[in-house]
């Protein structure tokens, strides 16, 4: 017989493991059965609390996931019964007695986790609500953690989540994987949320922390799950590859002092080789899947191909910038964006020289939408600096500095300005 303390330790380890692997499935199933998001979360929490006291005493059940599911479902049923005996039959009650009719599964996709993901990412919800719901309900972050991602108070986040769930119920947003005719568009919507989550972790838009690797990890975990639940979808695979390529550079992106290191100056031996190898494999799968359906490459595939060029180049100088420039040109055609045009101009400058980059920048209608975008000014500054024209570069650096949103970027730009001023003082 193990000592009681060991039993408790063992039980909580087993519980942590099953919560990590089964939480999403159980909560998603409870939402389908009860139609009540808060009740589903609360019942799951009840089941976990009960496991903490029961398991050390009676031992870990043979199937911990099934145990949690049953206990959580009973807790939900009890709660519904309490409500219905107090008040008249509610919609919740009706749903419990008659589970919603199952729609014919579209493709082989019929999974409660996917239902939950598609519902959280429904386009009738505001983008920030979609991201918040996904963090809270799909990834299981606490309200405080979710609030932290958005840099808002816990109270504000709680209100936002309550409103989003209320709209799902009141507006009749269906809890389902969309039918085939809506699937491509809705899948694109889910991927947009996943990409936003990842970007927020990879390069947070504001604040002092330029990278939040834990959030990027979570986004990758979720994209991996979607790729597994919706196999052979080129854009899903491409997004996973893109995230893996970008994430592989995390160890090299900040120096010992926490300062930003540019891609060209990063120590490539620090890049995560296993992540790159996996990304290359996943990208190849995406390309094969695309050939099989005979479709044109989507935006994530092109971005993953660009990321692959960077990640697999032996040195910064050996990067095939001509190919990157042409991939950006194709990307710009299918999803026009001034940021893509800007990146294309950078690739052209690196492939054909700064003059070609400056010339392209001048032909693009970048200034109106991008006037307040620090990277436009930083790029102009950098191209002049590469031509050795410090005087031309300096005002663009100053403008970029004034607009840069993160402290790390501001420090980087200030260093460039200091270097130019030192050179001017010596000359």
């Amino acid at each position: 017989m193990p000592a009681p303390r060991d039993a408790a330790t063992e039980a909580s380890a087993a519980l942590a493991e099953v919560v990590a692997s089964e939480r999403l499935r159980i909560v998603a199933t409870l939402i389908r059965h009860t139609g009540d998001w808060d009740l589903a979360e609360d019942s799951f929490h009840d089941a976990v609390t009960r496991a903490l006291t029961t398991w050390p005493e009676r031992g870990i059940p043979d199937n911990p996931g099934a145990w949690l599911t049953t206990v959580a479902r009973n807790a939900a049923t009890d709660a519904i019964r309490r409500v219905t005996t107090e008040r008249r039959a509610t919609e919740r009650h009706a749903r419990e007695l008659e589970p919603p009719e199952e729609e014919a599964p579209t493709m082989q996709i019929d999974d409660d986790r996917l239902r939950l993901i598609f519902t959280c990412c429904h386009p009738a919800l505001a983008m920030e609500s979609r991201v918040a719901l996904t963090l809270r309900t799909v990834l299981g972050l606490t309200v405080a953690e979710t609030a932290g991602v958005f840099l808002v108070s816990e109270q504000t986040m709680q209100k936002r989540l309550v409103r989003a769930r209320a709209k799902i119920r009141a507006a009749g947003i269906p809890y389902r994987v969309p039918p085939l005719r809506l699937l491509p568009e809705r899948t694109a919507g889910v991927l947009a949320v996943l990409y936003l989550l990842f970007s927020e972790g990879y390069s947070s838009g504001s604040g002092d922390d330029i990278v939040r690797p834990a959030l990027a990890d979570e986004a990758i975990r979720l994209t991996r799950l979607v790729a597994q639940l919706m196999p052979q979808q080129p854009e899903v695979l491409a997004l996973l590859a893109l995230q893996l390529f970008q994430h592989s550079r995390t160890p090299a992106r900040l120096d010992a002092e926490g300062e930003l290191v540019l891609l060209a100056e990063q120590d490539r031996t620090l890049w995560d080789a296993a992540a790159i190898a996996e990304a290359v494999r996943v990208l190849a799968e995406a390309e094969t899947a695309l050939r099989e359906v005979g479709a044109a490459p989507g935006p994530y595939l092109l971005q993953a191909q660009i990321a692959a060029e960077h990640a697999t180049a032996p040195t910064a100088e050996a990067t095939r910038f001509d190919r990157i420039a042409s991939l950006y040109a194709r990307l710009s055609k299918i999803s026009p964006s001034p940021v893509i045009d800007l990146n294309r101009a950078i690739a052209v400058a690196l492939s054909d020289g700064p003059d070609a980059g400056i010339a392209l920048l001048d032909t693009l209608d970048l200034d109106a939408p991008l006037a307040e975008y620090h990277l436009l000014h930083a790029t102009r500054a950098d191209l002049w600096r590469r031509r050795g024209e410090d005087a031309e570069a300096l005002p663009h650096y100053r403008r970029a500095l004034a607009l840069a949103p993160t402290a790390a970027e501001r420090r980087f730009l200030q260093r460039r300005i200091d270097e130019i001023e030192e050179r001017a003082a010596r000359a």
Partner: protein, 111 residues
Amino acid sequence: MEYLLLIINDPEAPTYIPEEDNIEEWSADIERRGIARTGNRLRPPSDATTVTVRDGATILTDGPFAETKEWVAGFDLIDVENLDEALEIAAAHPMARFGRVEVRPIWPFEG
């Protein structure tokens, strides 16, 4: 679930092209599918009268309650499975292209 489609006139929307107006086809489709409850056009806001009662006195105002460039030009009440279906029907309405359609779920009194 019932939804009210508010058909919105928007002066900044693309110019109305009579040949592309498929309203009859649209109405016939929702009738055939048995989801149409009721619907009609509305006279413009210049024909509206707003009624307000304060301290027992009835105040009548010529025109709509709020002066906006966009105004409700018609409505359709439909009964469908869920929001996705309502949104698809709204998107097929010609005024989604020449104006806007606001989809509002009906909030029934529980009884």
